[in-house]
């Protein structure tokens, strides 16, 4: 039942994270991982690079809290989260969320829940460089809606 949260400038190795999720626990029946990448376009403009700022300290607390909420909702073994900060380029990996559990329903649900809340609650901000100059990315309403749908009661499915 470990939770690993890392905020770092360096890139990460998804395969290594996957191996860490499978390690030493024969009770695990499912692993779900998500990797978010940097797109080369946004709001109709081509984006050449991205800078990610964060609120050190609060970021880790919010992510811990999101993991705690996920554990209260689903039966989970490990949770591993990595979020990068600093300068990024198109196709770079930005975020990793990996969850292991006995059954796939819990892992699918928890992984999506964690990403939806990470996007709307964790204090990260993106500034993107386009041909028109540098601009801060606006929050999306669709992300708020994605996190709000978890407020409706759901039941954990066993598979």
């Amino acid at each position: 039942m470990t939770t690993s949260i890392r905020v770092q400038q360096a890139d990460f190795d998804g395969q290594r994270e996957y191996q860490a999720l499978r390690q030493d626990c024969p009770a695990i029946g499912a692993i779900v991982t998500f990797v978010g990448l940097m797109r080369d376009f946004n709001e109709g403009d081509s984006v050449s690079s991205l800078y990610l700022e964060h609120y050190a300290g609060m970021t880790e607390k919010v992510l811990q809290d999101i993991c705690q909420q996920a554990r209260e909702r689903w039966q989970l073994q490990q949770i591993r989260i990595i979020h990068r900060v600093g300068a990024l380029e198109p196709s770079d990996q930005i975020v990793f969320v990996g969850v292991s559990s006995r059954h796939r329903g819990d892992a699918f649900g928890a992984c999506e829940f964690i990403m939806d809340f990470l996007k709307t609650q964790a204090p990260f901000w993106k500034r993107e460089d386009t041909a028109q100059g540098s601009r801060w990315v606006e929050a999306r309403q669709s992300d708020d809606e994605a996190s709000r749908r978890w407020q409706a009661p759901t039941s954990s499915t066993k598979t």
Binding site: E53, Y55, M58, A122, P123, K126, W136
Partner: protein
């Protein structure tokens, strides 16, 4: 002393990332602190009252009527856009 932090668009618009401030007697909540800082000029007022601005006290998002006792870490920032 309050430790006040500004992030992302706000820190750019205010040209300030961090400052220390002795809590004035007339300020007892996060909302009153925002009002006080906003009196520094239109730039401060507009930045701190722009759509969706959030305040966190001791690294937890708070309401605008959250009481302050004067030695907290208070952060102002725009809606988050990570992930």
């Amino acid at each position: 002393m309050l430790r006040i932090l500004f992030f992302a668009r706000l820190s750019e618009e205010l040209d300030c990332r961090e400052e220390r401030l002795a809590l004035p007697a007339e300020v007892s909540t996060t909302g009153e602190l925002r009002q006080l800082l906003g009196q520094r000029g239109p730039q401060w007022h507009n930045a701190l009252h722009s759509a969706g601005v959030l305040v966190a006290v001791e690294q937890q998002v708070a309401d605008w009527d959250r009481p302050l006792n004067g030695d907290e870490e208070v952060a102002f920032f725009p809606p988050v856009t990570g992930g």
